[in-house]
Amino acid sequence: MKKIHKYLFLGLMVAAACNPFELDEIVDPNNPSVGSVSNNATKNQLQFLLTGLESRHRGYVGNISQAWNTFGREIWYLNGSDPRFQTDWLGQNGRVPDAAYFGFGATGGGSYASPYQAIKQAQVLIDAAANTTVVSATERAAISGFAKTIMGYQFMIPANFVYQNGIRVDVADPLNPGPYVTYDAALDHILGVLNDGLTDLNAAGTGNFPFKLTAGWTGFNTIETLKQVNRGIAARLNLYREDWQGALDAVNASFINETGSLNAGPAHPYGAPPDSFNPLFYVANAAVSTIIVVHPSVLDDATPGDKRVTDKFLLRNTPVTVSTDAGPLTGTHQDKRWTANTSSIPFIRNEELILIKAEALAQLGSAQNLLDAEAAINIIRNAALIGNYPGAVTKDDLIDEILYQRRYSLWAEPWGHRWIDARRYGRLNEIPTSYDNGAVFTQFPHPQSDLNWDAYTGN
C-alpha cells in the first residue's frame, strides 16, 4: 500500500515538473514572414523578393490568354469539363458579365487580383530596398526602376478589364484603398509610374542589372535595355492614351529594331516543377477535349500565304468538338507557337513595337508620317511573306491595315490585343459572333470583393 502511494506521489511530482501550462512560442515552420524583410533586409532577401516579383508578373498569363482572347474571338477555349468556358465567356444565351463571373470569381482572378498582387509585390520590394542599408544608392534605384516598370505593365491589366468603370490606383494601404479613378486618369497614373521607373533606372548607373534576373530577360538584363523595355511598355500605354506623339517618342526609345528579329523581347520563363509549366502548351494532335483552338474567323480572314498562319496554327488530324447546352463548337486548328511545355512566353515583342510605331505615325497623319507608317507595315508584311501593302496610303486605310496586321502578328498573345484594339477604335461590333451565337463584352463590372469592400466601408 505505502509503496503504491509512493509511486503515485512520485508520478505526480514528475507531472508537476513538466509544467502543463507552458506553451512553446511557435513560429511558422513552413515559411519566412513578410515582417522579416520590411526592415534591414539582406541582399539575399531582396533577391528573393525580386524573383518573387518575376513570379507575380506572370500571374495573369493563363487567365488573360484564355479569356480575353476568347472575348476578342482570337481563340475559343474549348473545355470539355466545364461548358462555362464556352457559354459564359462567349456570352451565349444572353449571359452578361457580373461581379463574380465565371472564370474570374469574386476577386477578378487573373484579370484583376493577380496583377494587383504583382503591384503589391513590387511595392514591398521597393520598400524593402528603401529600408535597408546593405544596397548602394544605384542598386536601390535599379530595384525601384525595375519594380515600377513591372508595376506600370501590371496596372494596365485591371484598367483594361473594367475599362470605363475605372480602377483604384492608390493601393498602398490594404485597409484604406483609394477611390476608383476613370480609365483615362488611370492611364495617366500608369504613365507616371513608368516615367518614375525610367527616372530611377536613369539613376541606376550602367552595365548589368545588379541582381539576378531569370533567363526570360536574356538580352534585356542591363540597365540600358531595361530602360528600353520600360519605354516599350510606355509606348503600348500611350496607344491606349491616344497620345500618338508620346507613343512615337516612347517606341523610339524602346528596343524597337526594324531590321532585327520580330520576336525579340523579354519573356516570362516556364519550366518543369518546381517551376510552372507553360500554361498555353498543348501536345500536337493530342486526343483531348480541353484545348485552345484558333477561332474560325481568324482562319477565314487570313491572307493566302501568310507565314504567320503556318507558323502559329496547326491543322489537327482530328478536330476538337465540345457540346454545351448552347450547341457544339468545333476547333480545327491548335496553337503551334510553343515547342514545349517549358517554352517561355514573351510579353512584349519587337513586332508589336513596329506596329505601335506604324499606328502612332498613321494617327499623327502628316504625309511623311503616313509613308513612314506604310514602311513599318511593310516590315511586318514582308516578314509574313505577303508582300508590300497594296492599299491606299490614307490614315483610315492604314489604321484598318494596322488593326488587321495586329490580329495576326499579335494573335493570342497574353494580352487580348484584338479585344482591346477593337474597343479603342469602337469596332467591337466587327468581332464576329456568328460562329458561336454569342455576344462581345465591352467591359467587366468591378469584382464582387471590391463592391463588397465599398459597401462595407460605406464608400
Binding site: 507531472a15 509544467n19 528573393f48 465565371f102 483531348v288
Partner: protein, 989 residues
C-alpha cells in the same frame, strides 16, 4: 502557480489516505438476478453494497455472491435495466432479484463533467447517448459515424458519397463556424483522436482542385465500431462547456467495451453481405433524330455510322460502372472476462468490403485490448490499446477537370452505342466524346489508395485518496496518444488517353501524412454531503499537443507501368507542410444534488492555445445548469406521471483558431531556376481570438405510466460570436483577405423525442421511438463585407454570406438589382428531420428492428444532371414535354433555361435506414446440438439503406462533393450510395 499548490495538497492527502480501511461484522449474501419479463438470468449485473466499495458482478447464469456488513443495502444496476435496491442483513442468505428492462434509459450514466458523470434522470442537458445495441444492434455499419444516423435528435449526419471506407460529416445543432467544417471533437476513452479529412491527392491529379474535393474519408473510419460500448453526444456549448476550446461544434465521447468479472466469454461474429446501388438513374437512348439534333453537322455522319454499327446493341454504362454487387464481410473474435481485480476485453476484427464500383473497397484490421486492474481496492489503472490498419480504395468519382479521372464525367457524355471496352489485344479505344478519357480504362488501371496505420493508446488512473462515511476524494488521471500515419497513392498510368495527350504522360502522387496527438488530464473530485445536498467538486488541468507532418511527392512522365517517383521524368515535391499546436486548460465544476429533486451544476473552464493571437491569454468558458425532478418531491401525487423534469442549461465553448492564422508568410516560388519569395495574399491577424459560442437550452422530460412512455423536448438557442472568417479585402490592394473575429451566427432549434412500449405481452414486446428535430441558422452579424462562397460559382449556384441571411442560402445567376445581386434559388438546410425506430421482440427468440428517416426540405445543387444534360444522356433527354421542338434536356426550367436555378433541387427523402431480424437460438437447442460448449447463438439478416423514396433526380439526396463544409450539398458525379444486406452469425462460447 495553482498547479504546484494543488500537487502539494494532494501529496498530503495521499499520506493521510494510506492508513484507512473499514471494519465490521461481515457475511456473504448470494442469489440470482433475473429478467423480470423473461425470467432468464442476466449476466454482468453490477452488485454493490451501498456506501462501501464492496461489489461484484453476476455470472453467466445471473448468480452472484457478495460480502456485506451488518444491515446493508445491495444495489443492482445494469445498462438497459432499472436499478434496484434490496435490503439485506446477516439473516439473509439467498435472495432472488428481478430487474425490469428500462426502455427509457433514465438509469444510464451520462458524462456531466471532465471527471464526473450523472444519471440520465438527473441530467439537465439533452445529451444524446447511443449504446452498442443502438449503434449496431440492427445492422452492420462500416463506420461509427454512419451508425448514428437518426439516433440522436439534433445530429445531422451526411454521407459525402457511397465510396467504401467512410467519409461522413456530423453536424450538431447547425453550423457554428463559417470558416471550417463544424465537426465535433471526438474523445475516445479520454484520448483526443484525429477525425480530420486527410488529403488523398485525388483532386490534384484529377484537376478537380482543392483537397476538399478528394472525397477522402474522415479518420473516424479507422475505428472498429464493434468496440464501442457507448457513444455520448454533447450537442452544444451548454453540455460541452467544460471541454472549452474545440467544443463549439459539440463533443462525441466514445467509450469502448470493458471486460466483466466472471466466466471468460469468447464471442465469434461473422457478417456476410452484399451491396448493391441504392438507386440508378438510367440513361437515355439514341435515335437518328436525336443524333441529328445533338451533333454538329460535320460530325453527324460519323455518329450515325457508329449508331448503325451498334446494330441495336446498346451498352448501359451506368450499370457497368455503378451496378456491381459488392461483397461485404466482417469477422470479429472477442475474448473478455476477468476477476474482481483485473478485467480485460480483447477484440480482433477484420472488415473486408468491396464497393459497387469495380476495384474499390475497404479493409480494416483492428486489435483492441482494454485492461483494467485494481492495484488496491482504492486504485484502479486502465490501459486501452488499439492498433488499426485500414486500406481504402475509393476509385475515381466526383469532380475532375479535363483529366477524365472521374468515371461519372466521361460516362455522362458517351452515347450508349459507342463501345469503350478493350479489344482482344487489351487496347482500350479512345473516347471521342466531350471528356476525352476512357472511363473503363480509368477504372481498370487507376489507383486511388489510402493505407492508414494507426495506434491509439489510452491510460487512466483512478485513486480514492480519502474517504469517510459520507465523503470521498478521488484523483483521476487520464490521457493518451493517437498516432495516425496515412500513406496515399493516386496513380494514372501513362497509357491512358488523357495521359498520352500530355507532355509527360503518367501521373503519380504519393503522400505521407502523420498526425501525432497527445493529451492528458488530471483532476481531483471531492464528493461530499452538506446536510441533504450531495456535492461534487472537481478541479483539474488539461493539456493537449498536436503535430502534423505532410509530404506529397509527384511524378509525371512515368516509365511504363511504374509507380515510383524515381521512375518519373518530372519529379516534384508537391507539398511539404508541418504544423504544431499546444493547448492548456484548467477547469472547476461544482455539482449539487438535493435528494434527486433538484440537481444543479456550475462550472468554469479556462483555456489558452498557441494558435491564438496571444498564446498566453486564458479564455474563460462558464456553464450552469439545473434540473428539477418534480415527481421526486413529496407533494407529487399524480401517479400516472412518473417523471416530470423541467431543465435548463447554459454554457460557453470555443472554436479553435486554425494553425497559421497569425502568420503573414512569404511563399516560396520557383521561376526560371531561381527561388523567389512572394508576399502572401493573406495578412495574418496577430489579435485573433477563438470563436466563441454560447447556448441556452430549455427542456422538459416527461415519463408516463411508470416511464412506459417517455417524452423529451428541448429548445435551444445557440449564438456564436467572434467567428473567424476572412475579411475579404479590396482585391485592388494586392492582398485578398485577412482573418477576422467579426461574424456572429445564431442557431435555434427544437428537438423532440417520444418513446415507449407500444405493446407488452408474453409473446411480443414492441417498443417505438419517434424523434423530430429542426434547426434554423442565421448570420446575425457579419461585420465584414458580404461574400459568396462554395460550390462552383454563381452560374451553377453558390452560397451567400450576408447579415440577416441564412449561410445556407443558395444564390446564382441571373443577377437582379445590380451586378453583384444574385437570385436566391434555395436553402440547403432541411425544414426538419424525423426518425422512427422500432424494436419488436416476438415469439420469445425473435428480434425485429427497423428505423425510418425522413428529411424534409433542404436543397441540393445537382450538377449530376448538368453533366448528363450536357452530354445528352439524361434519361428522357430527347423528350419534348412542351412540344416546342427543343428537347427537355436543353430546356430545364426555369426559363430562359440559362440560370443557376436549373440545378437547385429539393432533396427531401424518406429512407428505411436500418432493418434487422434476429433469431436467438434457444440454449436448449444449442446444448442439444453442440453439447454445452455454446452459451449463446444468434442468427440474423439485416439491411442498411434498404429503401429510398425521393423526388430528387440523383443517386442519393445525401451527397457532398465538397465533403464536410457548409457547401455540403453539391452533387457531381458521386460514388453511388450502397444498399447493404447482411446475414449474421454470433456465437458466444
Amino acid at each position: 502557480m495553482k498547479f504546484y499548490l494543488m500537487t502539494k495538497r494532494l501529496a498530503f492527502v495521499l499520506l493521510l489516505a494510506t492508513g484507512l480501511t473499514a471494519y465490521g461484522q461481515s457475511y456473504q449474501v448470494s442469489g440470482v438476478i433475473r429478467d423480470a419479463r423473461t425470467a432468464e438470468g442476466i449476466v454482468g449485473v453490477n452488485v454493490s453494497v451501498k456506501g462501501t466499495s464492496q461489489g461484484t458482478i453476476s455470472d453467466i447464469n445471473g448468480n452472484f455472491s457478495v460480502e456485506a456488513n451488518g444491515s446493508a443495502v445491495l444495489i443492482f444496476s445494469f445498462i438497459g435495466y432499472k436499478t434496484k435496491e434490496v435490503n439485506v442483513s446477516a439473516a439473509t442468505t439467498s435472495i432472488s432479484v428481478s430487474l425490469e428492462e428500462d426502455v427509457t434509459s433514465l438509469e444510464e450514466v451520462v458524462v456531466s463533467g471532465l471527471a464526473s458523470s450523472v444519471k440520465r434522470s438527473n441530467l439537465a442537458n439533452a445529451v444524446g447517448s447511443v449504446s452498442a445495441k443502438d449503434l449496431l444492434g440492427t445492422t452492420q455499419i462500416q463506420t461509427a459515424d454512419a451508425a448514428i444516423y437518426g439516433k440522436v435528435p439534433g445530429a445531422n449526419i451526411r454521407q459525402n458519397g457511397g465510396a467504401p471506407g467512410g467519409g461522413m460529416s456530423i453536424l450538431l445543432r447547425g453550423f457554428t463556424t463559417l470558416s471550417g467544417a463544424s465537426q465535433p471533437l471526438i474523445i475516445l476513452d479520454g484520448v483526443y483522436i484525429d477525425n480530420s479529412f486527410q488529403r488523398t491527392g485525388r483532386a490534384t491529379v484529377s484537376g478537380a482542385g482543392a483537397s476538399s474535393q478528394d472525397d477522402g474519408a474522415n479518420r473516424l473510419a479507422d475505428l472498429n465500431p464493434a468496440d464501442i460500448e457507448t457513444l455520448e453526444i454533447l450537442k452544444g456549448p451548454s453540455a460541452a462547456a467544460i471541454y472549452g476550446t474545440r467544443a463549439n461544434a459539440g463533443v462525441i465521447i466514445i467509450t469502448t467495451k470493458k471486460g466483466k468479472a466472471g466466466k471468460t466469454v469468447v464471442s465469434f461474429n461473422q457478417d456476410i453481405g452484399v451491396g448493391t446501388p441504392l438507386r440508378l438513374l438510367g440513361v437515355d437512348n439514341w435515335s437518328e433524330d436525336k443524333i441529328n439534333f445533338f451533333f454538329a453537322a460535320a460530325r453527324r455522319p460519323v455518329e450515325l455510322q457508329r449508331f448503325n454499327d451498334a446494330n441495336g446493341k446498346f451498352i448501359d454504362y451506368e450499370d457497368y460502372f455503378y451496378g456491381n454487387t459488392a461483397t461485404l464481410s466482417n469477422t470479429r473474435i472477442s475474448v473478455s472476462g476477468g476477476d474482481e481485480k483485473t478485467k480485460f476485453y480483447i477484440n480482433g476484427g477484420i472488415t473486408d468490403e468491396s464497393g459497387v464500383v469495380k476495384k474499390t473497397g475497404f479493409k480494416r484490421y483492428s486489435i483492441r485490448s482494454n485492461i483494467e486492474h485494481k492495484l488496491t481496492k482504492d486504485i484502479t489503472f486502465g490501459f486501452n490499446s488499439n492498433v488499426l490498419r485500414t486500406v481504402t480504395d475509393r476509385g475515381f468519382t466526383g469532380n475532375q477537370n479535363n483529366t477524365g479521372a472521374s468515371i461519372g464525367y466521361p460516362m455522362s457524355y458517351v452515347p450508349n452505342y459507342f463501345n469503350l471496352f478493350p479489344n482482344e489485344q487489351g487496347v482500350y479505344p479512345d473516347n471521342p466524346y466531350t471528356i476525352a478519357e476512357n472511363p473503363v480504362a480509368v477504372t481498370d488501371k487507376g489507383i486511388n489508395n489510402s493505407l492508414v496505420n494507426r495506434f491509439i493508446q489510452a491510460f487512466s488512473l483512478d485513486a480514492n485518496l480519502f474517504k469517510t462515511d459520507n465523503s470521498i476524494l478521488k484523483f483521476k488521471l487520464n490521457g493518451g496518444l493517437d498516432f495516425v500515419q496515412n500513406s496515399t497513392m493516386i496513380y494514372l498510368p501513362e497509357d491512358l488517353q488523357y495521359q498520352r495527350a500530355q507532355a509527360n504522360p503518367g501521373d503519380v502522387l504519393i503522400g505521407k501524412q502523420e498526425a501525432f496527438n497527445t493529451n492528458f488530464q488530471a483532476a481531483l473530485v471531492y464528493d461530499y454531503n452538506v446536510r441533504a445536498i450531495n456535492m461534487t467538486t472537481q478541479l483539474g488541468v488539461v493539456r493537449l499537443d498536436f503535430e502534423t507532418d505532410v509530404l506529397f511527392n509527384r511524378g509525371r512522365g512515368l516509365s511504363p507501368g511504374q509507380k515510383s517517383i524515381k521512375q518519373a521524368n518530372i519529379q516534384e515535391v508537391e507539398t511539404d507542410f508541418t504544423s504544431k499546436q499546444q493547448d492548456a486548460g484548467v477547469f472547476v465544476q461544482q455539482d449539487l444534488n438535493y435528494q434527486d429533486k433538484i440537481v444543479g451544476t456550475l462550472g468554469m473552464r479556462w483555456d489558452k492555445s498557441t494558435t491564438n493571437g496571444d498564446k498566453d491569454k486564458f479564455y474563460g468558458f462558464p456553464r450552469a445548469s439545473m434540473a428539477v425532478n418534480l415527481t421526486n418531491f413529496d407533494f407529487w401525487s399524480i401517479k400516472s406521471v412518473s417523471q416530470l423534469k423541467p431543465r435548463f442549461a447554459y454554457g460557453q465553448t470555443a472554436g479553435p483558431v486554425p494553425f497559421g492564422t497569425t502568420f503573414t508568410p512569404l511563399t516560396g516560388v520557383n521561376i526560371g531556376g531561381l527561388l523567389g519569395s512572394t508576399v502572401s495574399t493573406t495578412i495574418g491577424n496577430l489579435l485573433i481570438s477563438p470563436e466563441r459560442a454560447e447556448e441556452l437550452e430549455f427542456g422538459l422530460d416527461l415519463g408516463l405510466f411508470n416511464n412506459r412512455i417517455s417524452f423529451e423536448g428541448t429548445y435551444y438557442i445557440k449564438r456564436s460570436k467572434d467567428n473567424i472568417q476572412n475579411l475579404n479585402l479590396a482585391p485592388g490592394t494586392g492582398v485578398t483577405s485577412s482573418p477576422s473575429n467579426e461574424a456572429e451566427l445564431e442557431n435555434k432549434g427544437i428537438e423532440l423525442s417520444l418513446g415507449g412500449t407500444v405493446l407488452e405481452k408474453d409473446k411480443i414486446r414492441w417498443t417505438s421511438r419517434v424523434m423530430w428535430w429542426k434547426n434554423e441558422t442565421m448570420v446575425t452579424r457579419l461585420g465584414i463585407p458580404s461574400y459568396l462562397t462554395g460550390a462552383f460559382g454563381t452560374g451553377l449556384g453558390t452560397f451567400l454570406i450576408r447579415e440577416g441571411v441564412a449561410p445556407t442560402t443558395i444564390v446564382g445567376t441571373p443577377t437582379t438589382t445590380g451586378p453583384s445581386e444574385f437570385t436566391v434559388w434555395g436553402d440547403s438546410q432541411p425544414d426538419f428531420t424525423m426518425s422512427w425506430f422500432n424494436s419488436i421482440t416476438f415469439l420469445k427468440n425473435f428480434d425485429l428492428n427497423f428505423m425510418w428517416e425522413w428529411r424534409k426540405g433542404g436543397d441540393n445543387i445537382n450538377l449530376q444532371s448538368f453533366l448528363t444534360d450536357s452530354g445528352g444522356t439524361t434519361k428522357g433527354w430527347f423528350d419534348d414535354d412542351d412540344g416546342d421542338g427543343t428537347p427537355n434536356g436543353r430546356q430545364r426550367p426555369p426559363a430562359p433555361y440559362n440560370n443557376a436555378g436549373r440545378w437547385v433541387q429539393d432533396a427531401s427523402f424518406i429512407k428505411l435506414r436500418e432493418l434487422g431480424l434476429y433469431y436467438n437460438v434457444p440454449k436448449a437447442n444449442t446444448d442439444k446440438w453442440f453439447g454445452n460448449t455454446i452459451s449463446r447463438a444468434r442468427l440474423g439478416i439485416s439491411g442498411n439503406n434498404v429503401l429510398l423514396f425521393t423526388k430528387y433526380e440523383g443517386y442519393d439526396p445525401e451527397t457532398s462533393t465538397f465533403g464536410a463544409s457548409f457547401a455540403n450539398n453539391v452533387d457531381i458525379a458521386p460514388y453511388p450510395t450502397m444498399r447493404r444486406l447482411f446475414f449474421h452469425v454470433q456465437i458466444d462460447f
